[in-house]
Structure formats: structure tokens, C-alpha cells
């Protein structure tokens, strides 16, 4: 079986599993987990373009998630706007905030940029707590449900899965084509990229704004899934979690971070001692991955499979045909 067939087959099996999940999932709790994975993946798919492809280490994306969630809760909940329209507005606002954050910070070197995004998430938290009339402050806001048929858990699961698949398709297209290559070149060597003519700043900004839009949309459905949002939900550790999912999955791929998201969301639920360690575990995992396999766990599988079944490299030694060479040289005289 060549790699193309296995790739298609595994994607097909995966698609069937995802589509029929509500029926084999066991109970509503696992359906809830699956929907949560889909919601996180909407944000992480966009963030993947920023962190995994363009190499901009944004550790403050929880701020954009928060903006998306609160926008949705305020519009669809307090003001009674149609939830579908609210999702669009949340995405739009997320993109705008991404633009506002990205314009000044993307020109800065790596650490400065990371700190700027961290500071952004802290500012969002402060504003949410301070604007009590708008956001309910510490009390929080209820997350409104979508209209039929998406108000049941199964319906909602299909809604977020559909959105997640759409976002995945978008990122896959971007990654495959011109912009994807541009992003990777910026990550690996910005000077060379600029020398070849890649519009570095524009590309970074594009990726960042796109990730803002996906974060906004993700925030909107997150609010609906959680049915209630408070400032306690949007802590810095959640940003770390998104980040770790991408790094573990492997930068530069889309399937990798997706698997990373699935594993990291499901793991603490299945293995409850890990849940107590919580963020310590995420930090430890990130450290181990960065030190041992910085390309991600996908690479680790490759290394293991190399050890188990090494590729047979066909050597074609090149021996010069001396007679022919001599004749060719003589022929010139």
C-alpha cells in the first residue's frame, strides 16, 4: 500500500468516525468532549497558521477567544440578535482585534511579540472584569443556544464539526499553496524570505488576522457550548494549552496539531490523576517535546518507525567509465 492510498484511506476512516460519532460515543458527556475538541480546533487551526507555519509565537490568543465569547454572549444573549449573525460578528471582531494587535506587534522580534500578546490577553481580562455593566464582571454571562435544529447536543455537535471542517479546509488550502510556503519561509529564515521577495509583514499580518477570525468564531460557539462564561474561564493557561497542542502536534502540519488537540483534551478526562497536575503537565509535556522532538510527536513516530523498519536506501555508486573518458578527452585533440 503506497502512502497515497493509506493517506486517503485513513482520512476516509477518520471522516466516517467523526460523522457517526454521536452514535458510538457512549453518552452525552463524551459527545460534549468531542464538541469541545471541535471548538478548540477551530481556534487552533487558525493559530496553527500563526505559530506552526509563520513561527510567530503568540501566547495570548485566549484574549481573542474571550472577545469572541463575550461578543456572542452579549449580542445573542443580552441584545437578542440572531445567533448565526452573532457568530459572524464575533469572527469579524476577532479579526479586527487581531489586526489591531498585529499591526504594532508583528514588527517586533520574537520575545517582544510574545510578551505583547501575553499583555493583550491580560488587558482583555482586565477590561472584562472592569466593564461590569456590559460583561457582568465577575458574575459572567449565560451563553445562548442556537435555534433548532442545533439546540440539542447532537445538533450542536454537527454544527461545530461542520464549522471545524470548513476552517480545516481553508487552512489546508492556504498551507498548500503560495501563502503556506511564504509562511514557512518566514518561519525558517525571515531574512532570506525577504530577500526573495516575500512580503514578510503582510504575510504575518494576514495569518494573524485569519487566526483572529477563527478565534472569534471559536469563542462564539465555545460560549454556547459552555452555556455560561465567566472571566475565570479565560486564563493564560488556556493559551498555553492551545500552544502546546500545536507544538506537540508538529509545526508545519495540519493533522499533527489536530491529533495534539484530541489527545490533550481527552487525556485529562480519561486519566484523572493527570487532571490534578493540570498545567504542570502541559508545561512538562511542552518542555519534553521541545527538548527531545521539537518537530512534534509526528516526527517521533517517524523516528521510531525508522528504527523499527529502516528505509532501504539504494546506493548508486558512481564509478567513472575511464575508457569512455579517455576517448572523449582524446577526441578533443
Amino acid at each position: 500500500m503506497n502512502s497515497q492510498t493509506t493517506k486517503v484511506l485513513s482520512l476516509l476512516v477518520g471522516a466516517i468516525l467523526i460523522a457517526t460519532l454521536p452514535f458510538w460515543a457512549g453518552d452525552q458527556y463524551q459527545l460534549h468532549l468531542a464538541a469541545l475538541i471541535a471548538v478548540y480546533w477551530i481556534l487552533i487551526a487558525g493559530l496553527n497558521l500563526v505559530v506552526g507555519f509563520t513561527g510567530q509565537l503568540s501566547i495570548g490568543h485566549v484574549g481573542l477567544l474571550s472577545i469572541g465569547s463575550y461578543t456572542f454572549a452579549i449580542l445573542a444573549g443580552k441584545m437578542g440578535v440572531d445567533p448565526t449573525l452573532s457568530v459572524f460578528v464575533s469572527g469579524l471582531l476577532g479579526g479586527l482585534c487581531g489586526l489591531a494587535l498585529g499591526l504594532p506587534s508583528l514588527r517586533l522580534p520574537g520575545f517582544y511579540f510574545a510578551m505583547a500578546t501575553m499583555a493583550f490577553s491580560m488587558i482583555v481580562n482586565e477590561i472584562v472584569l472592569a466593564q461590569v455593566d456590559l460583561t457582568g464582571g465577575g458574575i459572567g454571562l449565560p451563553g445562548p443556544m442556537f435555534p433548532k435544529p442545533f439546540d440539542s447536543p447532537i445538533g450542536f455537535y454537527y454544527l461545530v464539526t461542520a464549522i471545524a471542517l470548513f476552517v480545516t479546509w481553508l487552512t489546508w488550502n492556504i498551507a498548500r499553496r503560495m501563502w503556506g510556503r511564504a509562511f514557512i519561509s518566514i518561519r525558517d529564515n525571515p531574512v532570506a524570505a525577504q530577500a526573495v521577495g516575500v512580503p514578510v509583514f503582510k504575510a504575518k499580518l494576514l495569518a494573524f488576522v485569519f487566526s483572529g477570525i477563527t478565534a472569534g468564531v471559536s469563542g462564539a460557539v465555545f460560549a454556547s457550548l459552555q452555556s455560561y462564561i465567566t472571566p475565570d474561564t479565560f486564563v493564560f493557561e488556556l493559551s498555553m494549552f492551545f500552544f502546546v497542542c500545536i507544538i506537540i502536534g508538529g509545526r508545519g502540519s495540519i493533522i499533527g496539531p489536530f491529533l495534539g488537540t484530541v489527545v490533550l483534551t481527552a487525556l485529562p478526562e480519561l486519566v484523572s490523576p493527570l487532571a490534578k497536575l493540570g498545567n504542570f503537565f502541559y508545561g512538562l509535556l511542552l518542555l519534553v517535546v521541545v527538548l527531545v522532538v521539537p518537530e512534534g510527536i509526528g516526527r517521533m513516530f517517524e523516528i521510531i518507525s525508522e528504527r523499527l523498519r529502516p528505509r532501504i536506501v539504494h546506493r548508486e555508486p558512481i564509478t567513472p567509465d575511464l575508457n569512455r573518458l579517455a576517448k572523449a578527452l582524446k577526441g578533443h585533440e
Binding site: G110, M118, A119, M122, F236, L277, V290, L291, P294
Partner: protein
Amino acid sequence: MLTVIVTGLAIGMLYASIALVYNVMFSTSKVLSVTTGHLSMVGGVFGAYIISVLQMHWLWGLLGAVLAGATFGWLTDVLAIRRVLARSDEHLWLLSTLALATMVQQGVGLWWGTEPKPFPRLITQEFGAGLMDQKFWLPIGMAIVMTIGLEFFYRKTMYGKVFIAMSEDAFAARARGVSTDKIRLLSYVLSGALGGLAGFAAGQLTFAFFALGHTLTLLGFIALAVGGLGSNIGALIGGAALGLLNSFASYYFGGEYQQTIAVGLLMVVLLIKPEGLLGAKNVRPV
């Protein structure tokens, strides 16, 4: 009014000390570690633990804080920096130091508890001492002592000169026989000790609180960015500016927008003069 200024200066000097720590780390490794704020946190927590819980004299607490910071600095180099710098990937150290910082923060939180616990008095003094209270002049004094100490270190001692050599051109230093790995390790241990010391001195202001790490990393960084990377005097100026701004804003507008204002300052400075007030312009030949 005077209280506002003194409080601002005191907390600002803590930020300045952290900026000094950044400078020491950066000089030899060109790395800005996310663990910097956590060094101070560790210093404060261990100091409080030794004095309050183990009931020992505050000199032991000081020693403990410095040792804890130095150990943590050593760990940062060994775990997060050494292997990572060997690879050519530019920003991996950001991830590794972030990971280590999170681990230490959560670890301390699990052990020490999640509530800010009061830091004990170091010198017996009445609590109503007002402006002359030690919680104000301890961090200010410590920052000044650290700056003078570092200047002396850089100018008069051999190791200091080696640090400067490495910060100017690491390859040339190595070509001249300087063991860059060992010097880098030394600089991390030193910066860890300084960080622990700063956290210990400012403990009465910040309380022994496990979640201080990320906040101090960020605010110390703002002090550094405002003052200019690489300049110790700049660190003091940046820290003072940030502390005073925080204090005044919190007095007039209430404590709700503290982070917003601090970051506002950062953004303004970075937009106008990205290398900070006293920093050197980073020109790189391509």
C-alpha cells in the same frame, strides 16, 4: 500623594531589578527567558517559607532565597537553554523557558498554596511607620545596590569583562579561548541569584504569591524595553517610570486598569523608539 510616589518607586525598583536580571541573562546568551519573573517569585516564596514556617533568622531566609534563585537559574540553563541553543532554530528557547516557567509556577502553587501569603518583617519596625516602612526602601535600596554591584562586576572583575566580551561577539570570545558554555551557565546562576534577591527584598510589597511569575516577567520586560535592552541605568529608569505610572493610575482611576496602562506605556515606547530610551540600535549585517 507622597505615599503614591514612594509606593510607585518601590514597586518600580522591583521591576527594574528584574530588568537587570534580563540584562545579565541576555548579555551572554542573547536569550530573553520567560523564567525571569519566576526567579523573583521563587526568591520571595522561599524566603517567606524559611523565615515564617521554619522560623529561622532572616539571614538564613536571604541565603535560602539567593540559593533557590541561583538553582533555578542553573536549571534554566541546563534544561531550557543549553540543548536548545545548539540547534539553529531561532525561537525554540522561548518555548522551553515558557514550559519551564509554567512548570515551576504550578509546582510552587501546588506546594505553597494559591493564596498570597504575607512576607515576614525582616527588621523589627512598627507597622505604622508610613513612608519609612521597610517594605518601601528595601526594594529601592536593593535595586541600587544591584546596579552598583553589577557596574563594579563588569568594570573591575575578570568575569565581568568576559561577560561583556561575550555580549559583543560570542564567536570572537570563543576564538580567544573563553569557554562560552561555562560562562553562560555562570551568568544564569548569577542572574538567578539576583532575581531571588530582588524577590526577597520586595517580598513585603508583593507578598509570597505563586502567580507572580508571569506578571513580573511581563512587567520586568516592559521596564527593560522602555529603558533599553542592555543598559542597566535604562533598567532603573524604565522600572521607575513603570512603577510610578502604575501607582498614579491606580490611585486616580482605581486598580482596574493597571495592566492596560502598563502595556499602553510599552506600546507607545515601542512604536516611537523600539530599542528603548537608552538601548543600542540593533544593526545586523546580512
